[in-house]
Amino acid sequence: MKPVVVENLTVAYQKKPVLSNVSFEVPEGKLIGIIGPNGAGKSTLIKAILGLIPKAAGEIKIYDKKYRAKDRVVGYVPQRGSVDWDFPTNALDVVLMGRYGHVGWFKRPGKKDTEIAMECLKKVGMEEYASRQISQLSGGQQQRVFLARALAQDAKVYFMDEPFVGVDAATERAIIELLNELKRQGKTVLVVHHDLQTVKEYFDHVILLNVNTVAAGATEEVFTLENLHRTYGGKLSFLEKDQLVVEQK
């Protein structure tokens, strides 16, 4: 049973589609990179799968079923810039939000939820910052808090929207280690990613996207210069030199 199957997905904000006939399947227990130029519809793809924006056509199946948020199979890490970090709350409280689905309506998170949230903060190396006001965290620390919140959701499939943007090298390392840990636990993780240099190192599987799916499959088969040319078109020129080096290695 595939964790994620997308068939002929089309999404349009205006007349022009942002995603058109996108189809792919994702294997279980792998790290999957979603790669493509700006405006390729990477974030839109995640949002459409999660039902955050309506789709115009197509089928999306999560473990053979229509996606329902209340099944709690899916965890989500939105872009860090999508929230107001001056919100009056601390790191632990944000991570606890990941437990809200388990806690249920009208009830408050209990002692066990707090323990789980602390455990998740520890996994991202942020336990010392549990009671820190979130506006006083650095960008990398905020990203780690978001990851910890997704871990607290205790899902089987994770969607992460550009978790590596604006974080320092140490945080990037910590995040990728965490993703590998999730993989070892049999979780499936889909990550919107920008840095072509690290794709081969980080991901088992890639989805090359530019409004249409250009290619999807195991990284060594699909992540080729030819496919990248088709994905990025003319925009690849400035990447090409570096990329060639990577290809030849």
């Binding site: 999660l50 989500y76 939105p78 709350t89 601390n90 409280d93 939000m97």
Partner: protein
């Protein structure tokens, strides 16, 4: 002063008015905090102004001044205004600030036209409908106050019940949706609570200044804490204090409107918070920085002495 004391201690109606305005202060402080963080404070202002035509229409249709009927009218036009704003934002290129401004002035203008019309009818000229503009807590009587107090209590209760859901919805709406929360329904529910708080408060505070009771306690409370639940409690207390002060002043002074005194009290609390709150207060920060600079200078001086001592060797 003695008279005031007597009034509070022995006059049942004054006691009810006080309880009513204080509960109202708590309800608007609580909902105002969430509105502030959702960046919807101005929607409260628009809803309050938009209540005026509803009050006038209800009066013209029913021909009597029953608070309950008038508030139903106020709720109708208040909700309509809130949805007009959302509709304009979602379906045109007009941005939120312009949409709110447009709806507020159109509804309020229409309300003033209707108020003029009401005052020309035989029963209307002494109906006291213009008390709704600045609020008149002293003119509240018996069952009206109980209605107000009861409604405010219900609003506080519902907010406490769905606090967790409102919190995640406010901080990160797409994550809330990802958790499976019915975000559309919650948005609607919150907006309805906000409209209800505004409508309930109109008789006491008035349509023009009702927004101050939503916004001012909330921004004052933000200075004192970095926790949402504490902020909401503090904001509720500030709201209650403002409601109480405004009511007392307007009750002693013959015919003084309540709204302006509530606003003045709330603003005083806000100024106090802005200046002296621990950590965030301007004066507090300044004092800390001065102490810090002094310490740094002293350390530097000590280092300098050491260094010059080193050179002498």
């Amino acid at each position: 002063m003695n008279d005031l004391l007597k009034m509070i201690l022995f006059d049942a109606n004054t006691q009810w008015v006080l309880i009513g305005t204080m509960l109202l202060g708590v309800a608007s402080g609580v909902l105002g905090s969430i509105a502030l963080l959702r960046k919807q404070s101005l929607i409260g202002d628009a809803v309050a102004h938009a209540a005026l035509p509803g009050i006038c229409i209800a009066f013209l249709l029913s021909g009597e001044k029953s608070l309950f009927v008038l508030l139903i009218g106020a709720t109708m036009t208040g909700l309509l205004a809130a949805y007009c704003i959302q509709f304009i934002i979602s379906s045109s290129i007009i941005k939120e600030d312009a949409a709110i401004c447009l709806v507020l002035s159109v509804f309020f203008g229409f309300g003033i036209v209707l108020l003029t019309k009401v005052s020309q009818t035989p029963s209307g000229n002494k109906s006291g409908l213009d008390d709704f503009i600045f609020g008149q807590a002293a003119s509240l009587v018996g069952n009206d106050v109980k209605l107000m107090a009861g409604a405010a209590a219900v609003l506080i209760f519902i907010t406490a019940l769905i606090f967790k859901e409102l919190k995640v919805l406010t901080f990160d709406p797409s994550f809330a949706k990802g958790l499976g929360l019915p975000t559309g329904l919650l948005n609607f529910l919150f907006l309805s609570l906000l409209v209800a708080a505004v409508v309930v408060g109109i008789q006491a505070v008035g349509v023009i200044l009702m927004a101050a009771l939503l916004i001012t306690p909330a921004i004052a409370a933000r200075y004192w804490t970095n926790s949402l639940s504490k902020m909401i409690v503090i904001s509720g207390i500030f709201g209650a204090l403002s409601g109480m002060a405004g009511t007392l002043i307007s009750t002693i002074g013959e015919g003084l409107p309540t709204g302006p005194f509530i606003v003045v009290t709330a603003t005083a609390l806000f100024l106090l918070s802005m200046l002296f709150a621990p950590e965030r207060g301007l004066v507090t920060k300044w004092v800390k920085r001065m102490a810090n600079n002094k310490q740094l200078r002293r350390n530097k001086l000590l280092q300098g002495e050491k260094r010059s001592g080193f050179h002498e060797l």
